[in-house]
């Protein structure tokens, strides 16, 4: 009896302790630059042998066997067909004679690292996939599915032209941009689905470890490799596909691709990977 009381008292003090440290943390102002530094430091100290740019190769940097397989694979990458298709699509004019190049700065070449960006007119985050579909619609073409091959092919080509360029996401001096960033962060760390996982459960707490037969990728630089050819999917997948599949794998009903939540998430996740090179299109097991 006395023992039980003691435990209860311990729990109570613990709860009090939590409360006490609560307000100190709740006073958090949004500081993306500090977040980014802490985020990158977390990974570089968790994996002291890896260079910052190695993180964009995901699980291949975490596992020696996988790395060997990957080197072999990269000699003849499985995304090559998609890349070629993407290039052809990108350069083929729409029915009205215009092309994708007309919708983008620098004709769409070498600009992947600037996406997603915050559109101050719209007050929302605009991703590359969204911009591509808007470009299609503005030119009288039907939008592509966000998760399927056409969109992956296009983004694969655009990523390829930006390979090696450091991710460069800007947060303009606009409270809405900061809020979008913060919302993205909240989504990243929020547990959801019946399995009670957040994005961070796998990609912060356990990168490099196995989940069944697969090696988990680190959150740092994870989007730099998008889109990816996944052997598991035997096909290409976009960032949208990655997000929605992650959600359903933890038994959460996925949102629609390019819903605000996903756009904000992409904004946050890309921002904290600023400075890491674009490596897409990637190949993953």
């Amino acid at each position: 009896m006395t023992r039980r009381l003691a435990i209860r008292a311990a729990i109570a003090t613990f709860a009090l302790g939590m409360l006490a440290c609560g307000p100190a943390r709740a006073a958090d102002s949004v500081d993306p630059a500090a977040d980014k530094a802490a985020f990158q430091k977390f990974f570089t100290s968790k994996f002291p042998k890896l260079k910052l740019e190695d993180f964009v190769n995901g699980p291949y940097s975490m596992n020696e066997d996988l790395h060997k397989q990957w080197e072999e694979k990269e000699q003849f990458p499985p995304y090559e067909f998609s890349l070629e298709a993407g290039k052809e699509m990108f350069t083929t004019p729409f029915k009205n004679g215009k092309t994708y190049a007309d919708c983008f700065p620098n004709k769409g070449i070498g600009i992947r690292q600037n996406y997603p960006y915050f559109d101050e007119k719209e007050g929302k985050v605009v991703t590359l996939e969204l911009a591509l579909n808007r470009c299609r619609e503005a030119n009288g073409e039907a939008p592509f599915s966000y998760v399927k091959d056409d969109m992956a092919a296009l983004t694969a080509y655009m990523a390829f032209t930006s390979r090696g360029k450091p991710m460069d996401i800007q947060i303009p001096n606009d409270p809405r941009a900061l809020q979008a960033y913060q919302k993205g962060k909240e989504y990243f760390y929020t547990r959801r689905g019946q399995l009670n996982f957040s994005c961070a459960t796998c990609h912060i707490q356990s990168p490099g470890e196995r989940i069944r037969a697969e090696v988990l990728a680190p959150a740092l630089g994870i989007l730099n490799a998008m889109p990816i050819y996944r052997s598991e999917w035997s096909g290409m997948g976009t960032t949208s596909r990655r997000f929605t599949t992650c959600n359903s794998q933890i038994r959460g009903v996925p949102l629609n691709p390019q819903d605000d939540e996903y756009r904000n998430l992409e904004y946050y996740l890309s921002y904290v990977s600023n400075g890491l090179p674009i490596s897409g299109p990637g190949a993953r097991p």
Partner: protein, 104 residues
């Protein structure tokens, strides 16, 4: 056999009896249970946190209900409601708790 154990047997027999009378569910029971589950799932949807298992349990309830198996339908609908309520609890508690996991 001590008295205590005999008492447990008696109690469980009683439980079984009440349980079996409760099992004879009607269509109205099913409709009420289903509506409650659906409402809870809708609330989870407003919180942007529905579970896939809620949806599949709901459709299992509907399937049983359409087939006239109201016992199963009610049981499934109650299960779905419990799942939906859990997802609501999760979404609500995560409003602050996500910060615990943040890298800072």
């Amino acid at each position: 056999m001590s008295g205590a154990i005999r008492a447990i047997f008696a109690a469980s027999a009683l439980l079984l009896a009440t349980a079996s009378t409760a099992l004879a569910a009607s269509e109205a029971d099913y409709k009420a249970a289903y509506a409650a589950a659906e409402a809870a799932n809708k609330e989870a949807g407003a919180l942007r946190n529905q579970w896939t298992t809620t949806a599949s349990t709901l459709s299992a309830a509907k399937k049983a209900g359409d087939a006239g198996d109201f016992d199963t339908a009610v049981a499934q609908a109650k299960e779905a409601e419990a799942l939906a309520k859990a997802s609501i609890f999760q979404a609500t508690s995560e409003k602050e708790r996500w910060k615990d996991m943040e890298v800072r």
